[in-house]
């Protein structure tokens, strides 16, 4: 089918770009590793507070940290799209017969693959810190991170297509990613939050993703939070991808 072929071509093209300087795959792992090495020890002495069982902080912290990586690791991919807009590459693709959604899908799928490599590596690094994880749960959680990555990457591309210049892009993306991550109980469990903050967090789709991620790591497959997380993030991913696609089509308006 033509659209699948187009997606494959675009995916390979973008993957080639990533592999041209693979070091950047590791550079963007720096932040989560810092959290792992320099922040997680602080949590150990907090063990026992609500939401953070004593002796098991790593099991709660890592699945949250991976969601954080899914949010921030993909938040700034829009910058690469601005390069392509400026050099006329996107315009060249748009006047070719290539499928419109393939132009964007080829990118977000590349971003998802890069993210999953990072998530696997971070998890491996966490094992010596005493992480215990259900293998099946972990594999399922990768799918969840991919969906989060696709969501964030689509937002990033959508704004890149609207702004077309770098200046406003980073502040916009930070403005979205920061409150969203704070309101999902990644750094500290939301169980510690005052009621109003917990209420606000309920409106944050990514807090459901963090719940699902933690349940999956624990192998707690009966937890309804898993289904909730997947459904909410899937719907969100589809909505923002379509929004990004609309921004792409609007370039030709």
């Amino acid at each position: 089918m033509k659209v699948l072929r187009d997606i494959k071509l675009m995916f390979i093209r973008n993957m080639q770009h990533t592999l041209r300087s693979p070091v950047f795959i590791f550079v963007s792992m720096f932040q989560p590793l810092m959290y792992l090495l320099l922040f997680m020890p602080l949590l150990n002495s907090l063990g026992g507070v609500p939401g953070l069982p004593s002796g098991k902080t790593v099991d709660v912290f890592i699945p949250g940290l991976l969601v954080l990586q899914a949010l921030f690791g993909t938040a700034f991919v829009g910058f690469s799209l601005i390069d392509d807009i400026r050099s006329g590459v996107i315009e060249r693709f748009l006047v070719s017969p290539v499928n419109r959604s393939a132009i964007l899908l080829g990118r977000v799928l590349r971003d998802a693959v890069v993210l999953l490599i990072q998530c696997v590596l971070i998890t491996l690094v966490a094992i010596p810190f005493g992480l215990s994880v259900s293998l099946f749960g972990f594999l399922l959680s990768l799918l969840l991170y991919a969906l989060i990555g696709i969501t964030m990457a689509s937002i990033s591309y959508g704004f890149a297509l609207i702004y077309k210049i770098e200046d406003a892009l980073a502040p916009t993306l930070n403005t979205i990613a920061l409150p969203v991550s704070l309101l999902s109980g990644i750094i500290l469990p939301l169980a510690l939050a005052p009621v109003w903050l917990q209420t606000v967090a309920k409106a944050n789709p990514f807090s459901y993703a963090v719940n699902a991620s933690r349940a999956l790591f624990a192998g707690n497959f009966q937890n309804i939070g898993i289904i909730e997380g997947f459904v909410i993030i899937s719907v969100l991913a589809i909505i923002v991808f379509l929004w990004g696609l609309r921004s792409l089509k609007r370039m030709a308006a």
């Binding site: 187009d6 071509l9 093209r13 080639q16 770009h17 041209r20 390069d83 392509d84 400026r86 050099s87 006329g88 590459v89 315009e91 060249r92 693709f93 748009l94 006047v95 070719s96 017969p97 290539v98 370039m251 030709a252 308006a253």
Partner: protein
């Protein structure tokens, strides 16, 4: 619609909404133009920056949706048959469109695949085009290391790789050195010899003059005149003489005198130069100079030239092409 027309537009129009202080404002970039481009020619679309050239080309390549009017490209309806147009038209934008981080080969192979070629054929095709545009020595390097001329060659090869019947070129030689320009002109002529119709957007008079079979001059979103370079030049009427005087005042006086002497000829004064179009310029010039001297209006320099497209532009727009680059 006529059979042998490759591009035909009727009242093609594009307005943009621009946000300004005090609300939104409609800007009419292309004000309903009619074009008829015959098969197998090089059609020059000439005008200053901001005249609406690129906007028109972007509409014809399906990138921008027209606000109004009708157009057929290669016989396909611009509003209804965009897929067919995309498959059969080649397009090189002003920015070029080469992927700078990738090598020339990677660029060409992907482009060929996007137009439906399988990987093997795409590679063969890329090698052919590298050969044809004399790019073999640098084609395996990333495009960001190319010189301006080398990058342009890659851009045009990208637009040609699927062997389109119509090639849209948006200011292909802007910013290039003279050798690269001459080289590209040669390539564009070769395309024509192969039967490809070329729609060439340019702001260079000499380029339009040397390359094009038909020229349309666009200004402020409207076509002011269309014709072959010869027709346009002869429409100016005679040769161009430019007198330059020490001051604007002298120039004004000289204009008055020359008007009196040659009431039928076309005259224009800009600061301290007087432009005059006159038949048999070389015979008339000595006499004109003598009569100026007699009134003590001494010209500092005089140039005589055959009418150029610059004169054509001046005649139809009242301005010289270079003098008012718009913001």
């Amino acid at each position: 619609m006529v059979e042998d027309l490759v591009i035909e537009t009727k009242g093609l129009r594009k307005t943009f909404i621009s946000k300004e202080k005090g609300g939104k404002k409609e800007v009419e970039a292309v004000k309903g133009i009619n074009l008829a481009v015959k098969k197998g020619i090089i059609f020059g679309f000439l005008g200053p920056n901001g005249a609406g050239k690129s906007t028109t080309q972007k509409m014809l390549s399906t990138l921008l949706r027209p606000t109004g009017g009708k157009a057929k490209v290669l016989g396909y309806d611009l509003a209804e048959q965009q897929e067919q147009i995309r498959q059969n038209v080649g397009c090189v934008s002003q920015a070029g469109g080469a992927d700078l981080a990738s090598t020339g080969v990677e660029n060409l192979v992907l482009q060929a695949q996007l137009y439906g070629l399988d990987a093997m054929t795409a590679k063969k095709s890329a090698a052919e085009f590298a050969e044809r545009f004399q790019m073999t020595s640098f084609i395996d390097r990333p495009a960001q290391s190319y010189s301006g001329g080398q990058k342009r060659r890659l851009d045009i090869a990208l637009g040609m790789i699927h062997h389109p019947q119509l090639l849209l070129l948006d200011e292909p030689t802007t910013g290039l050195d003279p050798q690269s320009r001459a080289y590209l002109w040669g390539e564009i002529k070769k395309l024509k010899a192969e039967g490809v119709t070329v729609f060439l957007t340019t702001q260079y008079m000499d380029e339009a003059d040397k390359l094009c079979d038909t020229i349309a001059i666009i200004d402020y979103g409207e076509i002011v005149v269309t014709g072959t370079p010869e027709e346009l030049k002869s429409s100016v009427g005679g040769d161009a003489i430019v007198f330059s005087f020490p001051s604007e005042e002298t120039a004004r006086k000289a204009e008055a005198m020359l008007t009196e002497k040659n009431p039928a000829e076309r005259l224009q004064t800009k600061t301290n130069t007087v432009h005059l179009n006159i038949k048999d310029g070389e015979k008339m010039m000595p006499e004109l100079l003598r009569s100026l001297d007699a009134k003590n209006l001494r010209a500092q320099s005089v140039t005589l030239s055959r009418p150029s497209l610059d004169d054509v532009f001046l005649k139809y727009t009242g301005r010289s092409l270079r003098e008012d680059e718009r913001k």
